[in-house]
């Protein structure tokens, strides 16, 4: 009994997957058909897709799907037999049907039934359309009246040579293939010391087969970029209609293949670029004609392989970016100084649209260029190791070029040593490697910096940030890294080879550690952690976007409002979280040797200035990892005669800034959160903290007294 139901479930699953694909194809073909209504081939494809859905849904007992598809089919057969002529309302009606079908399919996937959605209005439109769409007598399409019925039925057979494969299975095959490479390398190493001819030739054979195997598995994960693009003509049409514009989407290189992980990763950025192009780039038909262009704007998508990478280009023939507007806007937003603005060439100006903060939530309707949320596009592309470039000629159009690696899975990385452990630095974020003697490192207010070609490079010591054993070597290597728009130097003990590593994500339990992007297996079979530059810069307190920060200091912004700027002490927990306290509550900052901590009534205390001061560890209060240290940084809090010591991981800074505290505490020990120096900090609730320290407070989920 149960096998019969399982079989049925399989069939429905298959039907859903096939129909969804069919609908994507329909979207695209209908839009194409609108442009080229005489194409019998397209019409045939559209007809076939609708026909298949109708047939299958009838067989599986989905009456709503069936009747909708039936109505659509009627309309299409009218078109095919030249009784009707295609016009936008008819296309919209058919697209409406596609949407309704999709909705029904989703409902079936979620709940197993068609649900109680009402599609009578869609049906009515479909039924009424033929009356208003009679074909003009003079349009006679050649050979249309008898579209061969046998051709229609022959089509489904073509897909027999393909099967659906679970993605997890592909990933596992990829893992095994890379492990096979390791085993092969070990075998080869062993075989090279042997003289047995048979063994040597077997080892060589193993080598060849393994390489082929790895390549084949990689290929199995590739998908044509067309699977993302197929939705674009429809999207462009809808968007253009809603802004009263006309857009023709052209595609070149839809068959260009890339890893399926990347396909998903570029979907949103590409959609965003497309939206921007239609919304801001392409002009209204009137403007275009005035400018001597065709009424319909052209959007050209192009993808091709270039030097081991995939390049995707989105070009439009719209208005292009108005450089003066960009200059003005950047000045208004304080992103550049007037002197900088004067000296900036067009190419550099255009790049400003990628700067975070250039675009805002406010409406930019009269802004003729682009730039809404492009920083997000850039970040997303860079996250997958890609590069975005933008070229624009005023009046002629804009081209956005994206270069991405062929696969997410393989990443060239530099292997470095620090604190006796190896780490991988993705090559994409590496600018250069400098060797220097430790004495050349200077201190700027306690922040280590290095003068690299007369420019101050903020440094971060990997061993210190990760709490590893510090090295004692005099000479160190500095890997100059790009994080966001800024650079910083990562100090490591040694630099090894570069290796192509296969990136594996870290488990859920390790997501909180933001300075690692993943892990990989090196050639010797050992696991290495891959560093995440943005996370590392954040951990080290190096603001990644220092070069694009507004030049106006935060305090100025604050004083313009009627709140006075307040001083805050910002400290840091072991997991990289930031805590803020009003400076007025801080009596002193101390460093207390761990040996001086004593125990009283199950609580940690310390003798401090003739009194017994209870200690609170931030790490325990907020369940962060604990570090054994000899000297503990302690913030001595004092309010209404009560004092307590707050043990933090590090005291970071004192900030004078207007701070709006958002009151959304997830535990009673927090007042809320606030943005201090562009980053989020948890604002501690002083009253409750002191109460916990004195053992009087028992509320809240986190009893820190353990």
């Amino acid at each position: 009994m149960s096998t019969a139901t399982d079989g049925m479930e399989e069939i429905v699953k298959e039907f859903l997957a096939e129909s969804t694909e069919g609908l994507d194809l329909l979207d695209r073909n209908l839009v194409e058909l609108e442009r080229d209504p005489k194409s019998q081939e397209r019409l045939g494809e559209v007809f076939r897709a609708v026909h298949t859905i109708k047939g299958s849904s009838g067989m599986l007992g989905y009456p709503k799907l069936e009747s909708l598809a039936h109505a659509g089919e009627n309309l299409l057969s009218g078109l095919r037999d030249c009784k009707l002529a295609l016009h936008p309302a008819l296309t919209s009606g058919l697209l409406g049907m596609v949407d309704a079908l999709r909705e029904l399919l989703n409902a079936i996937e979620r709940t197993g039934s068609e649900g109680d959605g009402d599609y009578t209005s869609v049906m009515r439109v479909l039924e009424e359309l033929p009356r208003n769409s009679a074909a003009p007598a003079d349009t006679v399409m050649g050979g249309s009246a008898d579209a061969p019925a046998d051709k229609l039925q022959a089509a489904p057979v073509a897909s027999v040579s393909k099967i659906r494969v679970d993605v997890g299975l592909l990933d596992r095959m990829m893992d095994l293939a890379s492990e096979l490479v390791l085993a092969r390398n070990q075998t080869l190493r062993f075989a090279s010391s042997q003289t047995d001819g048979a063994l040597l030739s077997a080892a060589q054979r193993l080598r060849r087969v393994t390489t082929d195997m790895q390549e084949t598995v990689m290929k199995a994960r590739l998908q044509p970029i067309g699977s993302v693009w197929n939705t674009f003509p429809r999207l462009a049409r809808d968007l253009a209609l809603s802004c009263g514009k006309q857009v023709i989407v052209e595609m070149e290189g839809s068959a260009t293949e890339l890893d399926r992980g990347l396909i998903e990763a570029i979907r949103d950025p590409l959609t965003h670029i497309l939206r921007n192009a239609i919304d801001h780039g392409i002009e209204t038909p009137e403007h275009r004609i005035q400018a001597g262009k065709t009424a319909a704007g052209h959007l050209h998508l192009r993808a091709f392989h270039l030097a081991g990478r995939v390049q995707v280009e989105v070009s439009d023939d719209g208005a292009g970016i108005n450089h003066e507007r960009v200059r003005q806007r950047a000045l208004e937003r304080g992103l550049i100084t007037p002197e900088e603005a004067a000296g900036m060439g067009e190419r550099r100006l255009v790049k400003l649209v990628f700067v975070p903060g250039f675009s805002t939530a406010e409406k930019v309707t009269n802004f003729s260029g682009r730039g809404v949320g492009l920083d997000v596009v850039k970040t997303n592309i860079e996250r997958i190791g890609g590069v975005v470039d933008l070229q624009s000629v005023a009046g002629r159009g804009t081209t956005v070029k994206i270069k991405i690696p062929l696969t997410l899975a393989i990443l060239p990385a530099l292997i470095v040593n620090s604190g006796g452990q190896r780490f991988a630095i993705p090559q994409v974020s590496l600018v250069e490697v400098v060797r220097l003697e430790a004495r050349f490192i200077e201190q700027l207010y306690r922040a280590p910096v290095y003068r690299l070609r007369d420019r101050l490079l903020p440094l971060c010591f990997l061993d210190r940030e990760l709490h590893l054993e510090a090295s004692v070597a005099d000479g160190v290597y500095v890997a100059v890294l790009q994080a966001g728009a800024g650079q910083f130097g990562l100090v490591v003990d040694a630099v090894n080879d570069t290796e192509e590593v296969v990136v594996k994500p870290l488990g859920k339990e390790l997501r909180a550690v933001t300075c690692f992007a993943g892990a990989a297996i090196l050639g010797d079979g050992q696991v290495v952690l891959i560093l995440d530059m943005a996370g590392l810069a954040q951990l080290a307190g190096i603001v990644a976007d220092s070069r694009v920060q507004p030049l106006k200091p935060a305090t100025e912004q604050g004083s313009s409002r009627d709140h006075a700027a307040q001083s805050w002490l910002v400290s840091r927990g072991t997991a990289g979280s930031r805590f803020a306290l009003p400076l007025s509550a801080v009596a002193r900052l101390e460093e207390i040797p761990a040996t001086r901590i004593e125990c009283s009534a199950g609580r940690e205390v310390v003798q401090y200035r003739g009194e017994i001061m209870p200690l609170l560890r931030v790490s325990r209060l907020f369940h962060e990892p604990e570090q054994d240290r000899e000297l503990l940084p302690v913030v001595v809090l004092r309010e209404s005669g009560l004092s307590a010591g707050l043990v933090v991981d590090r005291i970071e800074d004192i900030v004078e800034q207007f701070v709006g505290v958002r009151s959304d505490p997830w535990c009673d020990l927090l007042e809320g959160s606030a943005v201090i120096q562009e980053r989020v900090a948890d604002v501690l609730n002083l009253k409750n903290l002191l109460a916990v320290a004195r053992g009087a407070f028992t509320g809240g989920a986190n009893d820190g007294s353990a």
């Binding site: 893992d175 096979l180 594996k504 997991a575």
Partner: protein, 153 residues
Amino acid sequence: MVSQRRLCTFYLDRLWFGIAVERVYEVIRLPAITRIPLAARAVAGLINLRGQIITVIDLRRRLGFEERPAGTMPVNVVARSKDGTVGLLVDEIAEIVEAPESSYEIAPDNLPADRRELVPGVYKLPDSLLHVLDLDKVLGGDGSEAQSGKVLK
């Protein structure tokens, strides 16, 4: 009709623990392990298991026991949790036990709540109590409960 549960058992600080046998893939010696700086204390690190990178949890730390005495080598039990494959460091592997369901009892109230989450119940077997470990909870915690220690004794 006595229903039985098959459990793969092991020792941790001389206490007897068990997990459902169908969850266990294999028991191996600990290969070279890559430590993860800044991760929770209970996370021992990452290992390469035939091309798959898996997280290894030190169960002694996770359950708040004392550190394993120097010089003793832990055994790595590779098992399936709801968040994927995980390695569990235990002191010593023991036999597979058929425990009758009738001998099962949920953990008594004097076991603190955070421990009860990890050890939801025990089998009262003739020789000894067999602690049942909830595999799915092992990966979830942050390891900070390691502070209070020795509650299970």
